[in-house]
């Protein structure tokens, strides 16, 4: 009785596994032809006009270089705390009276930027927060060999963590140094405008943390948004315009020293 049941069980086990293996094999054989049977119409195309088009304004006249944004970004996005990995950071530019430009960003500005040039030598000084520019013609997206980084339908340049092969080509292609190789996940990492937040109606963490409202986040398609107003009221500029990346991060008060 016992042995019979065992045999029966075993037979059942073999039957089930054979069916499973067979089914998987059959499916994998059929799967490549699925596309032929389904009409292309079914592939949902999102009407782009209905979606927001995210962008950011940075008001350099308001930024005090406290580094709260860079700190918030690291907390929010689990960016390694070592001073080599930043999705956003703040630079301090100091133009000396002799014309020399000194740029500093110790630890990305986290903990507040400190002026290292004596006051009497300073011609002018200002802070510049940097982040991914979410280019409309993103060089990184163009360069990615496998399609692991892309521009989302709402205009945010994102990385597919499960698909990136870690070749670093996108990092080489980014003119703004906004990308890095995450030492933990071993894939390219970058600012996502806090995609997990903005799709829930929250603001990006850096915008939330900024005490002086120097960062203005919003929808470029919505004519009522703060961002559109900011762009209307201020003469804005993008970084490295000669590279024709059509970036969606706009700076007010950008000085020509900024690179």
């Amino acid at each position: 009785m016992g042995t019979e049941r065992k045999i029966n069980n075993r037979r059942k086990f073999f039957q089930t596994s054979a069916a499973l293996v067979g089914g998987t094999l059959l499916y994998s054989l059929i799967k490549p032809f699925e596309a032929l049977s389904q009409s292309k119409e079914e592939a949902t195309k999102i009407a782009k006009e209905d979606l927001p088009l995210w962008g950011m304004g940075v008001d350099l006249e308001r930024c005090v270089g406290c580094g709260k944004c860079a700190e918030a970004c690291k907390i929010e996005n689990n960016v390694p705390k070592e001073p080599f990995y930043f999705r956003t950071w703040v630079e301090q530019y100091t133009v000396k009276k002799d014309g020399e430009v000194k740029i500093e960003s110790p630890n990305g500005g986290i903990g507040g930027l400190k002026q290292s040039v004596p006051d009497e030598d300073i011609f002018k000084s200002f802070m510049v927060p940097k982040l991914c520019n979410h280019c409309t013609k993103a060089p990184c997206v163009q360069a990615c060999p496998v399609g692991a980084t892309f521009i989302s339908p709402d205009g945010v340049v994102l990385v597919d963590d499960t698909y990136c092969i870690g070749c670093s080509y996108c990092i080489q292609a980014c003119p703004y140094g906004a990308r890095f190789m995450n030492p933990v996940t071993k894939v390219a990492d970058k600012c996502t405008f806090c995609y997990h937040r903005i799709t829930k109606g929250l603001l990006p963490a850096c915008v939330e943390a900024c005490p002086t409202d120097a960062r203005i986040f919003g929808d470029l398609r919505n004519k009522e948004s703060d961002l559109v107003k900011f762009l209307q009221e201020n003469p804005t500029q993008v970084l490295k315009p000669h590279l024709n990346t059509h970036s969606r991060v706009f700076y007010n008060g950008l000085s020509s020293e900024v690179k």
């Binding site: 270089g65 994102l158 005490p211």
Partner: protein, 151 residues
């Protein structure tokens, strides 16, 4: 057609065919739905946990502090600028209140003298001169900085 060319072409087409079959079955399902990427990656990016909860959430319990803050100079500073969150937003925020010590070092992040901060409406202090106690909050109420505490 010579046998040789036929064999080679056959090998070539078998190779291409096998390649296309493998490609078809290995490519992720949602790949190419919106563009040359895995459409499900949008969801992956959306699903990440958030930490900063937003001022509205804080005000649910701390309306009094919010009102006090709104009436003074720190009105534009949102709660989590100083009270950096320690736990993801999905966890009830009452578990671990983020405490800020209000040391000089902390307040100096915004208020230390720096030529890059002039004329931006943020008071600049020389902490060597303006220095009475170890911690700023011993005199100043951080939610209403001009409400000085009695010494």
């Amino acid at each position: 057609m010579p046998k040789l060319i036929f064999r080679l072409l056959l090998t070539f087409f078998v190779f291409v065919g096998v390649f296309i079959l493998i490609q078809r079955s290995v490519t992720p399902d949602s790949f190419g739905k919106y563009g040359h990427y895995r459409a499900n990656s949008l969801d992956d990016n959306r699903m990440k946990p958030f930490y900063y909860k937003g001022e509205a959430k804080c005000t649910e319990c701390h309306q009094d502090v919010f009102d006090q803050k709104a009436s003074d100079l720190h009105d534009a500073v949102r709660c989590e600028s100083c009270h950096t969150p320690k736990i993801p937003g999905s966890i009830d925020c009452k578990v671990k209140p983020p405490i800020v010590k209000g040391t000089i070092q902390f307040c100096a992040q915004c208020h230390a003298i720096n030529a890059g901060r002039l004329e931006k409406g943020v008071p600049q202090l020389d902490f060597k001169e303006h220095y009475e106690k170890q911690n700023c909050i011993e005199c100043h109420n951080p939610h209403a900085p001009w409400e000085l505490k009695e010494k």
